[in-house]
Structure formats: C-alpha cells, structure tokens
C-alpha cells in the first residue's frame, strides 16, 4: 500500500510536468492548427540558461530568466519563421518545427558538452519521508506548482478576455476576425504562454529525481512524452491535456514499478493507442456538436 501511495504521488508529480508541456502544445495547436514539434527544444533553451546563469544569479534568478527566455524563443519561432509562411499548409509548418527542433537541440547539446548537468538544485535528491513513505521532493513540488499554474491557466482560459478570444479563434478564425479579435496577437500570446510553461517544466525535468536524464538529449526525449499526453487527452482540449499528462505520469510510474522500467515508456504509447482506438478524437477531443 505504501509503495502504491508513493507511486501515486511521484506519478502525479511527473504527470503535472507532462501536463504543463501538453498544455503548451495544445494551445499552440488551438491558436494556429500547427503541431509544434519544437516544444522539446524550448525545454532545453530554458534549462540551458538556468544551467549557465545559476552561479551568477542564484537558482531562482536563473529560473526566472530561463522561463522568460523559453517564452521569448517560442515567440521568436512564431514571429520570424511561422508567421511569414501563413500560406503554407499545416503539415509543412509542422515539418518546419522539426527542423527548428533539431537545430536548437543540437546546439544546446553541443554547448553543454559531455557533463549533462542537473539543474534542480534547491529540491533535487532530497526525498521527503513521512513514516514509511518516501516521496521525491522534486515531484511533490512539481505537483503543487503544476496544480497552481494549471488552475490559473484554465481559469484564465475560461473567464478572461484572452481566453474568450483564444477559444473564439480556435473555433472559427474568420468569425473571430470579424469580431475584431486580432489573430496575430492571440497567436503570439499562445506561443509565449506555451514557451513559458516549457521553461517551468524543465526546472523539474532536468533533475536526478525526475528521470536522472540531466540537461541533454534524455530530457528532450522525455519532453516528447507530452505528445502522447496531448493526443490521448484530445489535441484541441486544454482539460484533455491536463488529464492526458496525469494519465501518462501515472502509467509511467506504475508500469515501471509493477512491470519493468524498460517497459514504462512503451506503456505510455500503448495507453495512447488503446485510447485512440476506443475514442479516435482522444478523451476530451472535439466531436461535432449538432442539434438534432
């Protein structure tokens, strides 16, 4: 029972991080219909700046700079590369983001070198013990931070003018334009928010607790798990991204414990396949709404 509770907290902690990534992925898709495969590289940009600056600025200062840098990098990708290619179809733009991802990832890996550092200083490798329970501090903090950010995001998405504009544009770009909603502004904020969430996620991902992967290709590969999270939740659903992230985190933790560690990554994709066979548009994806 204790092991299960441990797995539950650690799995949900990881799931909250996946949910942050999947949310970013989904809002870019909603605003632009582009599948952003460069999301993993945004994670690395944020992480790299934290690694470079934490001695000079302290961990917290470096974390803020990393989050802002990831957000601005996302905006730069949209403004400099995607915005000028509006006549291209969405598949071409998705391929373009793969190109961006390769370039940025290789550059960060080259700069970091062979060390593959961890960046989660204040909480990494300091487990919390409550009786017989041992919980990774990183995952516990990730769960709290994730819950706060996700709640704030979902509330803003539902109730703020930004959220209404975003949802209107996601549903009908022309009608939104006719309401005076500025498409370019909505798109820019979607990329900014997605980049910032990736910048937060890496603070938990490049730690010993999370995966032992460090700042490099390993963390980039983990970021890719946000894709099945977003897809099984429903590619155009923010709530789906959150549930998808949590499902992925729990699947990974439980299958690593009860089946095998090597199997845990495949288990995530197996769950995605099963969900898609039963519900092709994902758990919360859009189905046509019509009056009968």
């Amino acid at each position: 029972m204790n092991t299960f509770l441990q797995l539950l907290v650690n799995g949900l902690g990881k799931g909250a991080v996946y949910a942050l990534l999947a949310l970013g992925f989904v809002i870019i898709f909603k605003a632009t219909e582009v599948v952003n495969f460069a999301h993993g590289s945004l994670v690395l940009i944020g992480g790299y700046l934290v690694y470079e600056l934490k001695d000079a600025l302290g961990w917290a200062g470096a974390a803020v700079v990393g989050i802002v840098a990831a957000a601005l990098s996302a905006l730069a990708i949209e403004r400099l590369l995607l915005r000028n290619a509006t006549s291209a179809d969405h598949n071409s733009l998705a391929l373009l983001t793969i190109g961006i991802d390769v370039i940025i990832t290789e550059e960060v890996v080259r700069r970091v070198g062979a060390d593959i550092p961890f960046i989660g200083d204040p909480y990494d490798s300091q487990p919390i013990r409550i009786g017989d329970l041992t919980i990774f501090r990183t995952q516990a903090i990730a769960l709290v931070v994730g819950a706060v950010l996700i709640t704030a995001f979902l509330l803003a998405f539902r109730y703020s003018n930004w959220g209404v504009a975003m949802r209107a544009q996601a549903e009908n770009r022309e009608a939104a334009a006719l309401m005076g909603i500025r498409s370019s502004r909505v798109t820019a904020t979607a990329w900014l928010v997605a980049g910032a969430l990736a910048g937060v996620a890496v603070l938990f991902m490049a730690t010993q607790d999370f995966s032992g992967a460090g700042l490099g290709r390993g963390t980039h590969a983990i970021a890719l798990i946000a894709f099945p999270a977003a897809i099984l939740g429903g590619l155009d659903s923010t709530e789906g991204a959150v549930v998808g992230g949590l499902v992925v985190g729990l699947t990974e933790a439980l299958s690593a414990q009860y089946i095998s560690f090597e199997f845990s990554k495949s288990a995530v994709f197996l769950v995605m396949l099963v969900v898609l066979v039963i519900r092709p548009s994902g758990l919360f994806g859009t189905k046509e709404l019509s009056r009968v």
């Binding site: 009608a175 909603i181 709404l289």
Partner: protein, 269 residues
Amino acid sequence: MLSARGLSVRYGRSVEALSGVDLEVPADGVLAVLGGNGAGKSTLLRAVSGTLPLHRGAVSAGEIVFDGERIDRLDPALIVRAGVVAVPEGRQVFARMTVEENLRAGGLGARSAEARSSARERIERLFPVLTERAGQRAGLLSGGEQQMLAIGRALMSDPRLLLLDEPSLGLAPQMVGRIARVIREIHEQGTAVVLVEQNATMALQVADHAVVLEVGRVALSGPAAELAASDDVQRLYLGGHAESQAQAESEEAEARAHRSTRTLSRWTG
C-alpha cells in the same frame, strides 16, 4: 458613409470575383445587395470587412472608403474598431461556446467599456431569447436563434455600419419576417445596414436603396421601391420568393385559424 469606387477583387491570379464595382451606403440607410449565386455578393462583404486574405483573395483595383478613410488595406480588427462589423454567411456562431461567451467575444472589438455595456442593453431589448439562453451552447440553438445570436454578437461592438450576409438563408418564412423587422429596428436605432440577400422580396421590403450584382458587376442600382417595380428585378429575383412567401403567409394564417377551432379527437372524450 461607406463607398466603393472601381472595386475589383481577385482570388488567386485568374478568378476575378468583382470588377469595377461602385456603390454608396448612405449614413442613415439600408442598402440591399441582390444577385444570384456567384454574383460576388459575399466577396463584396469580405472586401469591406477585410477578410479576403483568409480566402486567398485581394483587392486588385479601386478603393473602399469609410467616413473619409480608406479601409481596403486594413486588418479586420481595425475595420471593426472603425465601426464596420459583418455577420458572415451561415451565421458562424462559436458553436462550442455559450451564448453569453459568444456575446462577450463580440464585445472584444468595442471601442470602450461604455459602448459595450450600452450595446449589451440594446441586444437584451432586441433579442430577449438570448438572455434566456445565456448559458446554453450556441451550437444547440435553433437556426433562427443562431441568426439572432450572430446579429447580437456583431452589435456588441456597437457598430455604425452592420453588414449582413444572407441572414434569411435556411430560415422558416416566419423567422425571415422577424429578422426583417429586427433589421429595420437596428436601422431605426441609428446603425446603417448593408443587407446581402438572395431573398429579394425581404431585402427590398427592408432596404431604402438596392444594387443588383451580376457576375461581379453592378447591373442595376437605385431606390429599393423603384427596383422592386422594375421588370428585370420582378422577373429575375422576385417571382419565386414573392410566391413562396405569400403562400407561406397564407398557409400560416390558415393554420392559425385551424388551430383555434380544432380540438384533438382523443381529448374530446
């Protein structure tokens, strides 16, 4: 108020949808734009509202001027800020959002919070049903209610010129009559209207002036009453509709009389 001078529009390189169109919308009037399928009516509205690029179209010649300023190169959001708002063909309400959220989205283009709140009061008076259904998803409203929502949503930014693209499309005759009354009311409250319609009977009853587009050119224009009386318009646009609407009205009157006298047999005991 709004004028188009020598307006030509192309989609891609080869399709010219409008060519050399001149028209004038007076500040206190309702202008009907009539024409069959492919005449260029919707293209005209897209050109005025700035949404041609979303359909890969562009103004290739001429200009559109609103209150002395050219608007044919502006972003759609700036055209809304200037006071020109369009209700697109097929209503295009945000189906997954509630009625309330649709109206809120419409208010995002308003010039000020005061304009938005007075627009809201106006919509509550014009369409009380939208207040009743505020929490309902727009996709689940009836066709007529969706049309009211589409018009209400456009009014939320307090426009000075409202463009309506085929508001009667797919609606029952009674609902068409209701929409026509609403358009007159909107106009009487001080908003100029451009009404693009295939239903010429309704459009000419509502409008002060009208133009007839044929294959992207203005074929006829003048006061609505004169156009309604002209042989060409009678033959081309009024025959079918006049018949069907008159027929619909007489059928409805008959049905009403029938309802008031008839008792269902199973309740007679």
